[in-house]
Assembly symmetry: C2
Homo-oligomer: 212 residues x 2
């Protein structure tokens, strides 16, 4: 493709390397950039250039942030006594979009995945255990502070996610802290069709049935 001008070609090649963007889409997007206002492209270009130097991990929950602590950890309206453990920041976003949860998070940035040589020490599990330990001892020392009440293990419902949840749960249960450890409910997703549900999900739905 010697036919595209150099900077446009560079942009198309870069986009082509992103997940889910093929050559045709990359070219189409590059052309679309050409029709956008210059000022927007400049802002976007600057944001991209500075992205890595500006973005850090929150010291408390390892969510992404530009400050020392993330927007959720510094938000005083959030319930600090519940911590939801998620695999990635994208999972955290899924909770946040719905406005369904008002506790705080802990982002593991991965899951235990022996096939890809990812062990417990390669993700932020030790940081979670330390955080919980500190919170508990702090609560004991000052009675007016919120005590940790619940850890929700919200790793994905697949093999690696299960293993990660099981590992964390075992680690926590060996210590004698007084909080609950819970796991997200399994069952049919909203709007699902029983005809197309897999038996694994149906089994979990029966197992977890509730009075109605």
């Amino acid at each position: 493709m010697t036919t595209l001008p150099s900077s446009l070609k560079q942009i198309a090649l870069f986009l082509n390397r992103l997940p889910g963007i093929g050559e045709k889409t990359a070219n189409r997007l590059a052309m679309y950039f050409l029709r956008m206002p210059e000022i927007e492209l400049k802002t976007f270009g600057e944001n991209i250039s500075n992205l890595k130097s500006r973005t850090k991990l929150c010291k408390e929950c390892f969510n992404l942030t530009e400050e020392e602590f993330c927007g959720i950890c510094t938000d005083n309206t959030r319930d600090k006594s519940i911590i939801t453990v998620v695999e990635t920041v994208l999972d955290l976003l899924s909770f946040e979009v719905g406005n369904i949860y008002h506790g705080v998070y802990h982002v593991l940035h991965g899951r235990i995945d022996p096939l890809n040589s990812i062990g417990p020490d390669d993700i932020y599990i030790n940081q979670l255990l330390n955080r919980i330990k500190e919170l508990s001892s702090f609560a004991k020392a000052s009675a007016d502070k919120d005590e940790l009440k619940e850890i929700i293990l919200a790793t994905n419902p697949d093999m690696e996610g299960e293993a990660t949840a099981r590992y964390i749960s075992n680690k926590l249960k060996t210590s004698n802290f007084k909080f609950q450890i819970t796991r997200l409910a399994y069952g049919l997703p909203m709007g699902a069709n029983l005809e197309y549900a897999d038996y694994g999900t149906l089994g979990k739905a029966i197992e977890g049935r509730r009075e109605y």
Copy 2:
């Protein structure tokens, strides 16, 4: 979404505005950027920032270029006696990828589309007519120069593309130039299944059948 740091959020919002990229994909891409080497992001950011100021239209064929003339028009191995008229630069790229065509192009940057108030004067049709006029008179003056032999109308085979091709063809036929005017063949695409072909395409395939 107060949960994402500002520059990451800006990037996700920008990506979300691109065609075919939804909110989830935009977030996923923004996260992917975070894992890329900083130097690549910086280069990409610079390319994006300078894209519009660097990119111009070729003075001959209106393809995109960073110089005065595009890579195709300045390529001496290309056959200047055949001009293929395409709607967009992306259409031009489709020809170029296959290495199936060795003439030059003329990019209209649109098609006649009355429903969207795009008339012949809103796209580069007049420039095409002028280019052809100049080429023809130039060829008459100097016999050693390549004469224009053929204009291939390669607008899309839909209503607006047809109208555009018809308009250009009529304009050219009123003058008495000596080149051929052709249109791309209609018919079944390679690898097609007759069972699923629409009758319009099948009709064209029968109409344009060739001895075998």
